[in-house]
Amino acid sequence: MNATAAAPIAPASSARVARRPSTLVAYRWELRKLIAQKRTYLGLGLGVLLPVIFVIVQNVHTRHGGGDSIFAAQITQSGLATPVLMLLFESVFFLPLIASLVAGDIVAAEDGNGTLKTILTRSVDRGQVFAAKALAALTYAAIAVYLASLVATVGGIASWGFHSIKTFSGSTVSASEGLLLVIAADACYLIPLFAVACIAVLLSTATRNSIAGVGGAIGIVILLYIVAGIPGLEGIKPYLLTEQFENWHGLLRTPTDWAPVTHSLWVCALYAVPSLIAGYLVFLRRDVAGG
């Protein structure tokens, strides 16, 4: 230790008062932390791998139409069918899992590593740290969805061309309009996915355990699927989070059906907002005794 270094360490008489950093600064650093961690790429890698495998398999076993879905029937007619099919498949379980991998870990991991105390003894308030973490978890979920969609779109177009496509209603839209619909469908799917991420953030904060955070969120998704399948509970089905995973289907109809999207907005808010508020309150008052 160079205790004799010339520069004074104590605050100079003209020292400025440090301003409180904005939440945006904390958010940017949360993203940088995610970028620096290998496990971040595990989820994204899975999100990329699946469409790649799908495209390869479809190229090897070239089929001309068929399948239950109208988009499966068009797989070799338009590359834009691939991202839609992938979203149909991944939205059920795969993307919620990827989103939970980060959201369920984002607070608990810092607790386990003891780094929470390091950042909470700087000039950011606890509320800012929580907001930054929640935003970073949502950002990751959005990146996962769009990255998977991008790979599926590029793979599909490269294999089967950028052609017009038929929607659920059977009407044909142009290729460029179809591309916009794919992007919009991904955006709509983010609504329930964000709710899953918010639940995972709450569990991560409350349990201080990454496994509980990730597994708990996925467990809730599975539980809701089970509840949806129980005879006699059809009445609550429209209010189950998992039912909102299909909210984007209305976009791929002619005319566009916005009702599922608006319905999912408030239903998902019922899951997301209380989770975030509860997580925030727990985070504000919790004892940081680890590390």
Binding site: M1, N2, A3, A5, I9, A10, A15, R19, T118, R122
Partner: protein, 349 residues
């Protein structure tokens, strides 16, 4: 050397640390039991106690990391619970081992912390603090590959980035080699000379004795002594060491002399405890007996002696506080100190 200057929003008259009736209870376990602390500006304040005494819990409450069950703690007049991060303005340090993101280089960790301080100047000081803790050559290496001592030094660097007026250090020398410990002491001394108040929790009692001017000793969650280290050592009893022409005879005379207590003979002569009046009487008795006095030197008890005496008196410390518990504590502590051996580092324990 530049003088410490308080941030504009701080209460300039408020002490760096002022805790009143601090309690932390975990279900049935009372970790901290009505602790009062008074760290004054410019203090190098030792915070001592055995493992599990409640030191780290107290420091965590001071930094706003855990919520007290009762009581308040203020840093420069601001309570971390009420004022949030603003209460930590001008405050830096770490509790237990400093922790960093292992997947990022040391420098990147400091950049993150500087950003979270909201101080552009802090970012410009990164190279400087890395030089101070001699981590500049390893700054681009991931913290995951750092040794414990290197992380400890990075913790110091992270604290110095904030140009603190109050530095809270919890066992800063842990994991350092002897040279590192020496350098750490020199750094703390330098910081104190620059006007930074240091709250030092440490098990290294010689280190505390060398560095600190005031101490608090906690045991079983309660403060058993708080005050000047010099006063504590004085209260520990006026000890003397006698070297004479005939130590065996001197021992007999001392034993026969009223007011001379705790007499021990070893290779360094005869040690005993007495007030000045009885020391004078002993000197006359030795002279009358024909025993020559080669040297008669007063010795203060070491902090280590005092620490063990205060913290190993289990029964009283475990009692719940009565009215004016602090006074009762100090009274008890003073009584305990009356029995402290006076040997000065002779390892007589």
């Amino acid at each position: 050397m530049a003088a410490a200057s308080p941030p504009a929003a701080a209460d300039t008259d408020a002490p760096p640390v002022r805790a009143r009736g601090l309690v932390k209870r975990y279900k049935e376990v009372l970790a901290v039991d009505h602790i009062d602390l008074n760290v004054r500006g410019g203090d190098v304040y030792g915070f001592l106690g055995p493992n599990g005494a409640g030191k780290t819990t107290t420091l965590r409450m001071a930094l706003g990391l855990i919520v007290p069950t009762e009581g308040t703690v203020e840093l420069f007049g601001r309570d971390p619970l009420r004022h949030g991060a603003r209460a930590l303005q001008g405050v830096a340090g770490f509790v237990e081992a400093p922790r960093f993101y292992p997947y990022m280089p040391g420098r990147r960790n400091l950049e993150l912390l500087a950003a979270l301080d909201g101080d552009d100047a802090a970012a410009e000081r990164i190279d400087e603090v890395l030089e101070i803790v001699e981590l500049a050559p390893r700054a681009k290496h991931k913290v995951g590959g750092y040794s414990h001592g290197m992380r400890q030094r990075l913790g110091i660097a992270a604290a110095l980035l904030r140009r603190p007026r109050l530095l809270i250090l919890d066992e800063p020398a842990t994991g350092l080699d002897p040279a590192g410990m020496r350098d750490m002491r020199a750094l703390i001394r330098r910081l104190a000379d620059e006007g930074i108040t240091v709250l030092l929790s440490s098990h290294q009692l010689p280190e505390v004795q060398e560095l600190c001017d005031r101490v608090a000793i906690v045991d079983k969650g309660r403060v058993v002594y708080e005050g000047a280290l010099a006063d504590l050592r004085r209260q520990g009893g006026a000890g003397y060491r006698l070297r004479s022409s005939d130590d065996a005879r001197a021992l007999e005379i001392a034993r026969a002399q009223a007011g001379v207590e705790r007499i021990l003979r070893d290779e360094h002569g005869v040690g005993f405890q007495a007030d000045e009046e009885h020391v004078g009487a002993l000197s006359l008795a030795l002279g009358a007996a024909g025993v020559g006095i080669l040297s008669l030197t007063p010795e203060l008890a070491t902090l280590e002696d005092l620490f063990f005496r205060l913290t190993e008196s289990n029964g009283a410390a475990a009692e719940p506080p009565g009215d004016g518990s602090r006074g009762a504590d100090l009274s008890r502590a003073t009584n305990e100190l009356a029995h402290v051996l006076p040997h000065g580092g002779g390892g007589s324990r």
